[in-house]
Amino acid sequence: MWRADKIEELRKARESYEKENLKAEERAQEFKTLSGIPVKRVYTPEDIKELDYQTHLGFPGEEPFTRGIHPTMYRGKLWTMRQFSGYGTAEETNKRFKYLLQHGETGLSVAFHFPTLYGYDSDSKRAKGEIGKCGVAIDTLKDMEILFDGIPLDKVTTSMTINPPAPILWAMYIAVAEKQGIARKEISGTIQNDMLKEFIAQKTFMLPPKPSLKLIIDTFEFGCKEVPKWNTISISGYHIREAGATAVQELAFTLADGCTYVEEAIKRGLNVDDFAPRLSFFFNAHNDLFEEVAKFRAARRIWAKIMKERFKAKKKRSLWLRFHTQTAGCSATAQQPEINIIRTTIQALAAVLGGTQSLHTNSYDEALALPSEKAVKIALRTQQIIAHESNVANVIDPLGGSYYLEWLTNKIEEECWKYFDKIEALGGVIACIEKGFFQREIASSAYNYQKEIEQRKRIVVGVNEFVEEEKVPIPILRIDPEVEKRQIARLEKVRKERSKEMVEQSLADLIKGIRSGDNLMPYFIKCVKVYTTLGEICQVLRDEYGTYKEPAMY
């Protein structure tokens, strides 16, 4: 992009400028991004002299999609405002969904409680004390019917944060849509369905890695044929980051996971251009605004390259990295909780400047409890102000061309490829999980981050600087203890009213399906339609495939 003689001229000019001007001391010896990448005082064309506009940036909607996947981006359509929500029973969450839609939310995102995430029914011994606490309790299709009661599934898209039992919850969603008279071809949304990041960071696992992958590829295959508008996976870096990873680790590990899924699907015999357009991603937006924007831009560029060069994808859509973003929960402080609104604003801005397709903004009280109604409304309003008042959505990739941002985008990409090489040398993603490589890398980053705060190398407002002794009391959401009783009562009622024979038959068929290696999606749909519980289905999976236990290390 720059002529060599001009760069040389600039270098000389800079050197004499520095000699003349740089006499004063700076406020720190070293300046680093949040991820620890050292940054210089100022960036100039010298730092991006290799950058070629057409090859490295291109236009929005053109390869390598650094500047966005659509030619019009937010001038065409704003991102989807999708607040992650769920608590108590299906009734309470249905009410929260309607509240959010009424206040301008444009997509739904379901948070399930822990027993559902692990495939246990609410009356399981393991569910004690956890019912409806961190999400909504879903045991059977009955709960799912109540959850989406009065919500037209052909008009709204739904994202479901569910992993080990993702195919089963998806089966329930398909069944609810069909009960509403909507064909499975018409529904759209996302199941998270990303087990690799569960083993790496989020740690909600049920089956060992191999059968976990098998089930995921089943959803890819089924989705291509039967539910073409559905994103059958959301390959997630969010949790990797929350567990303590740096921005570079978040990106590298997530894209490496993505490659593993693509490889597995190709091994199954699927055509890359059939399933790749339905892969979606999920990233974290932390406090370092430029680093985050650079990360999103690098992500698109790297993925497009991988899909094209390594996996030989032909369709333009297969090269798109589409992603949801959530602001960084781990950055929220319990101290002076209201100031989390400001952190969230900066992080949400990073996501928008980075070209996200949908966004969840955290509520200010999340370091204390599940979000209250007031807190979640302010979080949604934050997105609306960015969308409608700040004007940042009027120009695509407005930071593109900044010497610093372009340098940082290149730097993050470079570091990412280094990690890919390392992962490959260790035998690939699954081998790395088994060896604890990712887990150790992340734990070390988390520990370093904590030490930096404690040594005051990093300032966190309200925690190690500008501390206030006075506690600010804020009202928080509490889960009524009655929730547990009501949920278990409903489950018992469903068990009593359903046909025992049909349930037993559905489970016997499922076992046969597992043993013959079939795609299990049709079996799951059959099971849920006769009100077989999530726990009953998962017990079969656990019995047939075995369970996973992580080696304890820190």
């Binding site: 393991r126 004690k128 319990a334 599940l370 190690n464 509490r478 992580e550 304890a552 820190y554």
Partner: protein
């Protein structure tokens, strides 16, 4: 309580179903770096498993971590079981997302201290050392 020259033994346990182990692991490393012997149970522990490990490992301190909101149910169970096993001399600490109003309740059932988000790990180290010295 702790003999001269003997290292303080701490069990760090992730109770319940949530897998958010960042805090537990950071605390485990910090305690180890402060010279303690740390036994980390790993994830998804039941109260029974925690107490069993505490007994077998002969620990001075148990650190419980939980962020899913099930703390009242599960911590209470741990305290009951410790009492049943006559292990009340073990200092029990807790960390995670625990609302202010539950802190009093948890202290009433015998949890020595609750370390919430934003805690400096040095405070935990200091707390343990002070407690064990006083008991000696």
């Amino acid at each position: 309580m702790v003999e001269e020259g003997k290292k303080i033994r701490v069990l760090i346990a992730k109770l319940g179903l949530n897998g958010h182990d960042r805090g537990a692991k950071v605390v485990a490393r910090a305690l180890r770096d402060a010279g303690m012997e740390v036994i980390y149970t790993g994830l998804h522990q039941t109260p029974e498993q925690v107490v069993e490990s505490a007994l077998q490992e002969d620990v001075d301190v148990i650190g419980l971590s939980l962020l899913s909101g099930a703390h009242l149910t599960l911590f209470t169970k741990v305290m009951e079981l410790l009492k049943k096993e006559s292990l009340e001399n073990i200092i029990v600490l807790a960390g995670g997302i625990i609302p202010e109003e539950d802190v009093t309740k948890l202290k009433e059932i015998g949890i020595a201290e609750i370390f919430g988000p934003g805690t400096d790990t040095k405070d935990i180290v200091e707390f343990i050392k002070k407690k064990l010295k006083k008991w000696k």
